[in-house]
Amino acid sequence: MRLVAVGALLLFATGAGAETSLALRSVLGLLALLALAFLAAHPAVQRAEELLGISQVVAAGLPFFVLGAIAHLPSVGLLTDEVLLELGPLLDIGLGWVGVLAGLQLDLRAIARWSPLTRQLSSVVTFVPFVVVGLAMGALLHVAEIPATDHRLVRDAVAFGAVGCLAAPTAAALLSASGLGADAVQVVRNVARLDDLLGVAVLAILSAFFRPTASVGWSLPPIGWLFVTLGMGLGLGLITYVALRAARSDSEGIAVLLGSVALSAGAASVFSVSPIVTCFVVGFVLANLPLPREAETRAALTRLERPVYLLFLFVAGSLWRFDLWLGWVMLPAFVVARLLARLAAVRFARWRGLLSHLPGEERPVSRALVSAPIGALSIAIVVNVQTLYPGRAVPLMVTAVVGGSLFSEALVHLLFRVFATDARPRGST
């Protein structure tokens, strides 16, 4: 019944046509979004997602993506380029929010406890897909349309590599659910964490070395912009830390967090650097200082994570161009390159004995590492690339990321079902 209502709203919005006032169409769009939010939060829908094994926000938020695509249709005209520009602050804050959350995962004390084998394994499984996906996508872009002399080729290939190297912790959760040892689960989780770090580092370098053409203001060398980004994040991280210490209740904490994210993300946008990176550094500072009310702060940040991603999917939907043939060519290439790269990386790691500290659990861990779905941060990186370098590469990236996410999500569940017996702890029946 509720789905019918949402469908009716969308149909009404579509049928409203271009002659209908922008105001009315905006209202219809808002109402449709609200209805979708209602649906997404409904316990019955969440039960259905669990039943279907949908764990990734990209897969679960597909209706938002479709809604964004419909909203962008010329006959609907809800999410036009002007509206996207108006949504700028919301996107900046969302990107910053995701960045802080990612930074909060990077506790140096925890990383110091990683065994040397885990560090090497994480590095291999993270870097190989980045390089392979970047090269493959760069080659395709070059063959299809970008000459080798154009600096956009390197920029776009590196961005593709960044989204290709990201992995979601879904596989770790599935391993944990199947009863595998805590060490094995932690290894998979650590790899996903390092993936995020690499993705953010690549974004930092991209925004420092490939300055948006429209950027104005100070004239600094690329390395200078890198220092500005990191220094700004560090300074704002300390300010946020002091403010959070002064907060005396949950809602004051939320106000401080929101203010800090907006200030950091806004400053990053003013300087034309990545809000994700600046806020990642803020999160990193918070993760490594004794934070009062730490659990509440993390909970407050996590509470908004899913809605932020759903918003990004809505925006990504509007950036999608299903009529670009290159996107459909790049989608399988992206998926295959990523899968083969992860397979090669894990094979290399096993050959080098980097999984030898997990006797009897090497195969399920390897499978989890190879089949790990694309992480949700990838959709944030796509939105960030759109805000920094709007252009033709973005719709291609949207097709690759969303299509790749759906495929990898299906793959990981399939593999875990087929090889369920391997994942059971030794001795159990």
């Binding site: 905006s26 209202v27 808002l30 609200l34 939010a37 602050p89 900046d92 203001g217 106000a255 907006a262």
Partner: protein, 439 residues
Amino acid sequence: MSSRLVMLALIGSFMWAARSFDPQTTASAGLTLALGFVMLASFFSGQIAGSLGLPKLTGYLAIGVIAGPGVLGLLGTGTVERMQLVNGVAISLIALTAGGELSFRRTRPLLRSIAWITLIAVVGTTLLLAGAVLLLRPLLPFVASLDTSEALSAALVLGIVLAAQSPAVVIAVRSELRADGPVTRTLLGVVVVADLVIIVLFALGSAVARATFDGEADAIGTLATLAWELFGSMGAGLVAGGVLLLYLSRVRGGASLFVVGLCIVIAEVGTELRLDPLIAALTAGVLVENASDEGHRLLEEIAGASLPLYLVFFAVAGANIHLDTLATVGVPAVVLVAVRAVGLLGGTRLATGVAGGPPVVGRYVGFGLLPQAGLAIALSLLFARTFPELREAAALTMAVVAINELVAPVFFRRALIRSGEGRVGDDLGVDPTVDAAES
């Protein structure tokens, strides 16, 4: 306190440095930066105000004044205008809170007092202010040049504008002090009813005044517009309240986000369809509180989401204060502030006596009617748009609002504490929204 001042200086310096990069920026990046600055700086200035025994919102307002276009210019005029978007959402959220607080069962014993205070104190003060404007004609050149009937009608509309109250300030200070009791409940009822009365009076008064100036009147058109604004808004509010009830009763998680989303819809729909978001959100809140058991949960959900909006709302209100107008219209403004205070305080005492209400209500409720903010500013701007020939009057109304906005919350806070309903001490540190859910 010194550490908070240092933090304020740091945040201000950062904002200044960021703006120096591209001072002309009014684009989305500048808006995000400004929102972050306002939230963090207001948070610290609110704490400083609290430690000085002032309402936290005075600190929020002060940040707006100091960082706004009139003083340091860290928030440019364009940025402040774009931040008004938050105001619509904040007003809806505040109205939803006020509606959620208005339990018919608990308010019924106070209805007589509420009705009499609205009639005597609010409507009476409107007339008193109109009279004062007429008496001040020699000091007000824009009225002095009008003939008697025009001056009379202009004075009447100005009286209505100047009499407006601020539910936002009442809810913020009440929440900060965790106040509850007959004074607080009567006050909430009065500011809500008075808001509606002022909106109706302004629509009628400005139509009459316009007819006096133009020599022709469109009574049916005015009444139709007013009816649409009132009853259309109530209808929209009932629909919104129904949706909210459905969500609160069927879905457990993410309700605070849904409430904010609904407020965005109410604010945007209201603006586009010429409905009043305040009346719509108020109706929705009243429906949830009185037609279900979800009122308490609604306030809890609002509590989790409203503080950031309040910080921006009051800072923007502060940034809209034009202190420079005090230099030109300072004397008449101060006189009108005094007349308004006498009318509201005296009128409340008189009305409570007539209604047979508790003496404590008569003594303290009037102080809660003194603060002004969003509605008064909106009506001032509307007045300037409706009567371009009297646009200098906007300076006067803005000056009166500025004084009441900055000074009145201090007296109101003190009055709530003296009434015995406001708590002081450690509770001052608790954010102003947590408690809204607890009463």
